[in-house]
């Protein structure tokens, strides 16, 4: 077990190094002069030189890399050109709405996805199953911003049940916070629900035809116990993988959803950085998110051992 975790950690570090080198080279090898690009259309030569200096672009490449890598390792993932603040500080100011949205979306997607997929598998070919097929075709095909605007149009503009956009911090109470997040969470969840439900269905379908399910039935186990006590735990490894993948893809959806609903989170920080041509901010978020992705993968691998006693590392 210990050696396995160690091996996984080493490979995680290797992956992070690849990401680091890639992100580092991206700036240096991009066509054109990034400093000019970032300075914008109205830039003077002095401003361009300033940015060049700040990014350390004047030094030889290996020196730049060592400086940059040491900085990243010590927690300095760069400074915003536009705001002048450290990127980490900017992110920490914006992290609450993003975490709120991500956590709610994950809870909703996992809960509904698993239940939906389980019942679809239980009566394969039945009504729930066919609903899932149609639902997932839509979930995979309708982009999150189109879904979002449809929900806004239907529930906020026409029906006036929910606020159109914006964010209220949880400091102002759970109710207002939650009401603000309903539409963005639902919009963002749909494709993940489809994904998790499809994987759950496929995995459950395989498990339901196993001999031990017949044994459970012969014991007189109830349908609920058959599905959720006997089958789900056996079917959970692919579902865990699917949840891990969903979490990794979540950030892309968060960027879009925050833009649609005007939520001042990390995603908006990135989008604002596009307009301000503030590359260090984008780079900082990129590194953090990739690191998170690697950690999530590690966590998923370790979670396998919790659900399946046969897996021993």
């Amino acid at each position: 077990m210990g050696t396995y975790i160690l091996r996984r950690l080493i490979s995680a570090v290797a992956v992070m190094m690849v990401v680091g080198i890639f992100v580092f080279l991206l700036l240096r090898l991009a066509p054109g002069d990034p400093a000019t690009m970032m300075a914008g259309d109205m830039a003077t030569q002095q401003m361009i030189d300033g940015i060049r200096e700040q990014l350390g672009l004047n030094e030889p490449l290996p020196t730049q890399f060592v400086h940059w890598a040491l900085g990243v390792l010590s927690g300095n993932i760069g400074n915003s050109i536009f705001a002048g603040q450290p990127v980490l500080q900017l992110i920490s100011q914006r992290v609450e709405p993003t975490i709120s949205l991500s956590v709610l979306t994950t809870i909703l997607s996992v809960a509904i996805g698993i239940v939906f997929g389980t019942f679809a598998a239980w009566r394969a070919g039945g009504f729930v199953d066919r609903t899932l097929t149609a639902f997932s075709a839509l979930g995979y095909s309708v982009p999150v911003f189109v879904t979002s605007y449809f929900l806004v149009y239907a529930f906020a503009i026409k029906a006036r049940w929910l606020p159109v956009q914006g964010y209220v911090s949880i400091d102002h109470g759970f109710g207002p916070w939650f009401v603000q997040l309903i539409l963005p969470t639902v919009a963002l969840s749909l494709s993940y629900i489809a994904f998790i439900a499809r994987i759950t269905r496929a995995s459950m379908l395989e498990v339901l035809s196993e001999d031990y399910m017949r044994t459970a039935a012969a014991k007189g186990a109830s349908t609920y116990s058959m599905l959720f006590h006997h089958a789900l735990k056996n079917a959970s490894a692919p579902i865990l993988t699917a949840i891990g993948i969903s979490l990794a893809y979540l950030i892309g959806g968060v960027v879009i959803t925050e833009t649609v609903f005007n939520i001042p989170g990390v995603g908006r920080l990135v989008v604002d950085a596009i307009n301000n041509r503030d590359y260090p901010v984008i780079q900082g978020v990129l590194i953090l998110v990739s690191g998170l992705y690697v950690l999530i993968n590690l966590a998923v691998d370790l979670a396998y051992t919790l659900v399946d006693p046969r897996i021993r590392y």
Partner: protein, 334 residues
């Protein structure tokens, strides 16, 4: 040995059950009207080649057929006089594992790999009786001791993959007997095991049956096993019962040519157990098309023209002995 019994100690009375399997474009008539009775406390053997409908009979009784493809289309299964086919699913669940329990052929795959053996036995107890979790686990441990698993305190906490095949089958038996069922259906419980382990498991089933007083429906393809375990036996062929007798009568006077074929091909244990009936020529007929006459006729060494024209009914050929063959008398004498 009980051969003569009155009607009221009949535990299970299966009458003319017909079970079909459906696929996209065909119907397989797996059981073509099977009738038999199991009396309280007796051991009834069911023998036949694979595919003859032995397991389907067992699954039909517990209504555990694959729900999308299998269906019981006719007949009655009376348990204590009550037709199981008329029970609601919820009522049926109270029968399964409680009054009728079942053990399966593959101990390697029949236990849930992600739960401990102890909790799986305890679950059977908790489904049917109101006991605390601890009491159920204590019962599980007691059951493991009963099926002679050494060190039951430790074994209750084991997962199935930590046990050998023989031990898992013992655990399956412990689970099946945990609620002291009146009927135990054992579907080839020793087929997947090593020869030495087979004998131990057989002895265990016979012993426990005596102690608990459970009736056993013992399904096997092995006449040798029948001789060791059963009082009465029925022979199945192509979804029908072709002969029924006490074990001693069957071996002394086999009255169906198929039974005789089976006897001649009883596998010699010293040569290995996987040899199945090599001496009956031909193959089991496809159950998709319904034949007009006796389904064994194409393979039968003594078939005459009329055998292909009408299905022979079960006819009494001796006390407690019946066979479905137009030529039983000639066959018996042969």
């Amino acid at each position: 040995m009980q051969t003569q019994t009155s009607a009221d100690d009949v535990l299970l009375d299966v009458r003319e059950i017909v079970t079909h399997f459906y696929s996209e474009n065909s119907v397989t008539r797996a059981l073509g009207g099977v009738s038999f009775q199991v009396r309280a406390g007796e051991t009834l053997g069911v023998v036949g080649e694979s595919g003859c409908g032995k397991s389907v009979t067992a699954l039909s009784i517990l209504r555990l057929l694959p729900k999308l493809t299998g269906k019981i289309v006719g007949g009655e299964i009376r348990f204590h006089g009550r037709d199981l086919l008329k029970l609601s699913e919820q009522e049926m669940r109270k029968v399964r594992g409680n009054r009728i329990a079942m053990i399966f052929q593959e101990p390697m795959t029949s236990l849930n790999p992600v739960h401990t053996v102890g909790s799986q036995i305890a679950e059977a107890v908790r489904i049917h009786t109101k006991v605390s979790r601890q009491d159920a686990m204590a019962k599980a441990q007691e059951m493991l001791a009963l099926v002679r698993i050494a060190d039951p305190q430790r074994r209750v906490k084991n997962y199935p993959h930590e046990m050998s095949g023989g031990m898992r089958q013992r655990a399956m038996i412990a689970m099946a007997l945990a609620c002291s069922p009146e009927l135990l259906i054992a579907d080839e419980p020793t087929t997947a095991l090593d020869v030495t382990i087979q004998a131990q498991i057989l002895r265990l089933i016979v012993d426990l049956k005596e102690r608990i007083g459970t009736a056993v429906l013992f399904i096997t393809h092995d006449l040798g096993v029948v001789a060791e375990t059963c009082q009465r036996v029925m022979v199945m062929y192509a979804g029908r019962i072709v002969e029924e007798a006490s074990v001693s009568d069957l071996f002394a006077r086999p009255s169906h040519p198929y039974t005789q074929g089976l006897m001649r091909s009883v596998p010699d244990r010293r040569r290995g157990r996987r040899q199945r009936l090599p001496e009956i020529p031909g193959i089991v007929p496809s159950l998709r098309e319904s034949a007009a006459g006796c389904s064994f006729a194409p393979r039968c060494p003594v078939a005459i023209k009329s055998c292909g024209e009408a299905v022979p009914p079960m006819r009494v050929v001796g006390p407690g002995h019946a066979a479905a063959c137009w030529r039983s008398e000639e066959v018996m004498g042969a």
